[in-house]
């Protein structure tokens, strides 16, 4: 049994909001995320016939998103070595600079930058659990890794984010909770 192509295409359309959120988290910025999503969709469309009926379309699409992201990262690294361009990874996303007025927005900018600095495997687990709302079990199945690995990657990722936030606080504005130190 096969699913008609355009049924499948329509189903992919319904996944776009979720996929875009994941793509932006994987790529680090909205613009890069949208490029990534576009490329991943084109790739998926070229192999619609490979989609197996009875399997999950969202997982299939995520795998394509992920491999596309890895390909793009490798290409970017090769270009970087060839051109000796400055390390773009160290530049804060543009969003971070335009939202400096308020503390809350500053926090979000720090978080976006910190997410973009996470190792790939931590970032993908973080995106799937926190942004996509999948359970640890589902993520373990999806990535074919033990649930314990999902948990340790996720915990490490979030510790790093918390560290990035705390590192900013002394020079940034005031967060009463942290200023008052541990509560006893």
């Amino acid at each position: 049994m096969t699913i008609p192509d355009h049924d499948l295409r329509l189903q992919i359309v319904t996944l776009l909001p979720r996929l875009r959120r994941l793509a932006r988290a994987l790529a680090g910025t909205s613009a890069d995320g949208d490029d990534l999503l576009q490329t991943a969709c084109e790739k998926a469309l070229s192999r619609l016939h490979q989609f197996e009926v009875g399997t999950r379309l969202d997982r299939w699409m995520f795998q394509i998103l992920k491999t596309t992201h890895i390909d793009r990262t490798r290409q970017a690294q090769r270009r970087k070595h060839a051109d000796f361009t400055p390390d773009l990874v160290d530049v804060l996303p543009f969003d971070a600079r335009i939202h400096e007025q308020t503390e809350a927005r500053e926090d979000l900018a720090v978080i976006r930058a910190a997410v973009s600095h996470l190792p790939e495997e931590q970032r993908e687990v973080l995106a799937l659990v926190v942004l996509d709302g999948l359970s640890y079990r589902d993520v373990a199945d999806m990535l074919d890794i033990p649930q314990g690995t999902v948990m340790s990657r996720l915990a490490r990722a979030r510790r790093k984010l918390a560290h990035a936030l705390n590192a900013r606080q002394p020079t940034g504005s005031i967060d009463k909770d942290t200023l008052h130190g541990p509560r006893h």
Binding site: L10, V13, R18, V115
Partner: protein, 262 residues
């Protein structure tokens, strides 16, 4: 005092612990384990901030070019038949026509296909694609009930209660009136959303898209709110499909209901 791992505290913050382990952590927190309390708070805070940092911007819809690419509507040579008396429609309109041709094709296939049908089994009481039977409860809800009003439906066959609610009313890219309707189970958990549009000629409603709402996969994890907002995603996806414009106000909607959607 018993110690728990960092991972356990995180799983507690995420609502992923078994009842037994969750009770263990709660006991620790009650006993005043400051370190554990701070760790749980920190895990909650990082999750909330990540969600906020990558939240969808309502002013930033999914690009129409992308939707067009996915649906392959660029390549549709003769979208006519649907809206087509104008000789050189603008690009956007051409796309809209192609979209409709695409949707219409599925409607014609009818009984076979529910657009966006989940890959799992579709239950008998689910929202079906195609013209809405004028005597059905769905037709009544679409014609008479204002948005955000919950309507209970007794399922004669299954004996289970369900609920229907119109979420919003808007014009689509053809300036047809469309209503987005949500099917909920007895416990008001959303199951499906559909968009039905009103055809002025036949004064009938036709369901043009149905999306299943993903449910949390682990029912044992109490109090865990999934971050992915699958319901919002489903609603938004259907709006993208039909090219929804701004939702109508309650007053505008009331006027249309009273006038029989004329």
């Amino acid at each position: 005092m018993a110690r728990v791992t960092d991972e356990m505290l995180m799983a507690y913050a995420d609502g992923e612990l078994s009842k037994q382990d969750a009770e263990l952590v709660e006991r620790l927190l009650r006993e005043g384990d400051v370190e554990s309390r701070e760790a749980v708070d920190e895990f909650r805070k990082t999750a909330a901030l990540v969600r906020a940092a990558f939240a969808d911007d309502t002013n930033d819809p999914i690009s129409e070019t992308l939707v067009e690419t996915v649906l392959a509507t660029k390549a549709t040579p003769k979208p006519a038949a649907v809206a087509g008396s104008r000789s050189r429609p603008a690009r956007r309109e051409r796309y809209a026509m192609a979209m409709a041709a695409c949707l219409a094709a599925v409607v014609v296939v009818g009984g076979l296909a529910t657009i966006l049908r989940p890959l799992e089994t579709v239950t008998a009481d689910s929202l079906q694609l195609g013209p809405v039977d004028a005597d059905s409860r769905l037709a009544h809800v679409l014609a008479k009930v204002p948005a955000s009003t919950l309507v209970e439906i007794d399922d004669d066959n299954a004996g289970a209660a369900a609920h229907l609610m119109v979420v919003s009313t808007f014009y689509d890219r053809y300036d047809r009136i469309c209503r987005e309707v949500e099917l909920m189970d007895a416990a008001l958990a959303p199951q499906q959303v559909a968009v039905a549009c009103h055809t002025p000629d036949s004064s009938a409603w036709s369901v043009e898209g149905v999306a299943r709402i993903a449910t949390a996969s682990d029912p044992s994890s109490s109090g865990y709110a999934p971050a992915g907002a699958p319901e919002q995603d489903a609603l938004k996806s259907l709006q993208i499909m039909v090219g929804a414009k701004e939702p109508l106000s309650a007053d505008e909607e009331r006027r249309l209901i009273d006038a029989g959607w004329k």
